[in-house]
């Protein structure tokens, strides 16, 4: 699918703007990056940094009021110039999506089987039987021991972590070149988060998926991403190999983000400096 030599996803000079009371507001301001299969690129930033708008732009799911300029190509195709119908095929078949809140992205009244096969039947023209087999194998890929049991269930019968794994399986079943995961673990418990992050890394190395990981958590970036782009006020202020950026940040904002990131060790170290901490009487 991908034209040889070129990255699977390229974003050039992307700008997303909104018309506000005080004039034009740039949510994303002339950014560019590339993502290839078999790697995890993290877009990290605080709220309002433009990271989610970037992912929506790539999928062409921006709100109506947004204006977009720049060039986004997926497997050689210019996203902006694709007709709507063809874009629907790109979403799903070439880019899979996983969002923060799996409960709102799953339909509560349909079984998992129904939701997972729908896309396969539509995008890949599979028969119902073949679609079920593909769904089963995707659930197996994300670590469900008994895929058939999950297929017969409704979203509310699954835990938050299971729902998120189902979402990832549903995206993967279409064998997309890349997966966009927008805060995929933010709503999850920390022990479940660890499982989902392990899963993303496993998919990258085992299936060769490229993953665009949108997150606010620099600890998550440190553990999973190969490369990182730090976003602030709609711009990428620093980008590079994760290790290099986190060890030797050059931009002041990256330094500030790292400084404000609270680790357990750092938190314990900060405590003695606090005066007047009472002892237990």
């Amino acid at each position: 699918m991908t034209s040889s030599g070129n990255p699977y996803l390229t974003v050039r000079d992307l700008t997303v703007s909104f018309q506000g009371k005080g004039g034009e507001f740039h949510a994303v301001d002339r950014i560019g990056f590339e993502l290839d299969r078999g790697e995890i690129l993290a877009l990290v930033g605080e709220s309002g940094s433009g990271k989610s708008m970037t992912s929506l732009a790539v999928m062409r799911l921006l709100p109506q009021a947004a204006r977009m300029s720049g060039r986004i190509t997926i497997a050689g195709d210019d996203v902006a110039s694709l007709p709507r119908r063809q874009m629907e095929d790109v979403r799903g078949a070439r880019i899979g999506m996983v969002f923060q809140e799996p409960m709102t992205s799953l339909n509560p009244v349909l079984t998992i089987a129904r939701q997972m096969t729908e896309g396969l039947i539509r995008h890949q023209g599979l028969s119902r039987k073949a679609a079920l087999a593909a769904a089963r194998s995707a659930l197996d890929d994300v670590g469900f021991g008994e895929p058939d049991r999950v297929l017969s269930q409704y979203p509310h019968q699954l835990s938050g972590g299971m729902r998120q794994r189902v979402m990832i399986a549903a995206a993967l079943a279409l064998r997309p070149g890349i997966l966009i995961a927008d805060e995929p673990t933010t709503a999850l418990d920390v022990t479940v988060q660890a499982q989902v992050l392990d899963l993303l890394v496993d998919l990258k190395s085992r299936l060769g998926s490229g993953i665009l990981l949108i997150t606010h958590d620099i600890g998550v970036v440190a553990e999973t991403a190969d490369r990182v782009a730090v976003m602030r006020h709609g711009r990428i202020v620093e980008t590079g190999a994760t290790d290099a950026v986190l060890r030797n940040p050059t931009h002041d904002y990256t330094k500030a983000l790292l400084a404000s990131h609270l680790t357990v060790e750092k938190a314990l170290g900060l405590r003695p400096a606090e005066k007047g901490a009472p002892s237990r009487s």
């Binding site: 670590g143 920390v190 022990t191 988060q193 993303l200 496993d202 606010h216 553990e223 357990v264 007047g276």
Partner: protein
Amino acid sequence: MTPDALTLDNIRKTFSSGGRVVHALSGVSLSVGKGETLGVIGESGSGKSTLGRIAVGLEVQSSGKLFIDGERVDDMSAVMRRRRLRQCQMIFQDPYSSLNPRLTVGHQIGEGLYAAGVSDWREIRSTVADLLERVGLPRDFADRYPHEFSGGQRQRIAIARALAPGPEIVVADEPVSALDVSIQAQILDLLAEIRRENRLSYLFISHDMAVVARLCDRVAVMHRGRVVESGPIAAVIENPQHPYTRNLLDAVPRFGRRRTGRKPVPVDLPLHGDGDRFVSVGEGHTVLQASEDAAAG
């Protein structure tokens, strides 16, 4: 010895849902000393939020005793209990939904003063302004509405509102979870300052070990409606004894470690029963031991 500010003794809470009985809390006991901050950490479904709601009287326990300043409050008359519970104020996770969008900030903070018996409106106004100043906001913000503020500012307003009735105990349920990291640090610092100045006791509920480590003197780790381990914060983090505590600490993302993508070997977590006892493993550091272990050891 001065009595503890807040004591929960063998608190149980059951909910019935669709004919099933859910045990939210299965006999939780803990105390918060005067001027102390006790962190309660756990994941969803651990019962930590229910515990906090019981401590401020928003929820009533199915059984167990609640003491404030050494005085039992759960068997008091409703009027007396309400007056006593005013000493316990709560700060919630989501400042967007915990403030009333249709009332001015000053009105919402002032209500707490009025409830505490201040009836002169000029006095209320000036105290509200003092409280706003105390939490780092301009005094004239009293006339504005919640929607005019950012998440961090709203949480400051929620803190001012909690302080208004002059509480001795503040229960904070995930007060910084909805905020950006840089704002989190400011709010944690503010909570620490206020604790020092007002000699408050905090029951600080969180899922985030780093945040708990930053603010709390002691921590109680909750799992499935029980406290499974508790002790001084450094002891629990540096020397965790319960398998669940170890799991929780190990799952926290950290620098210098990469996810391998391999599934970790599942850890068997003990299923605790009511007969299980706490074993001391260090000064003030106890861990819940499954009865088989106790018998074996």
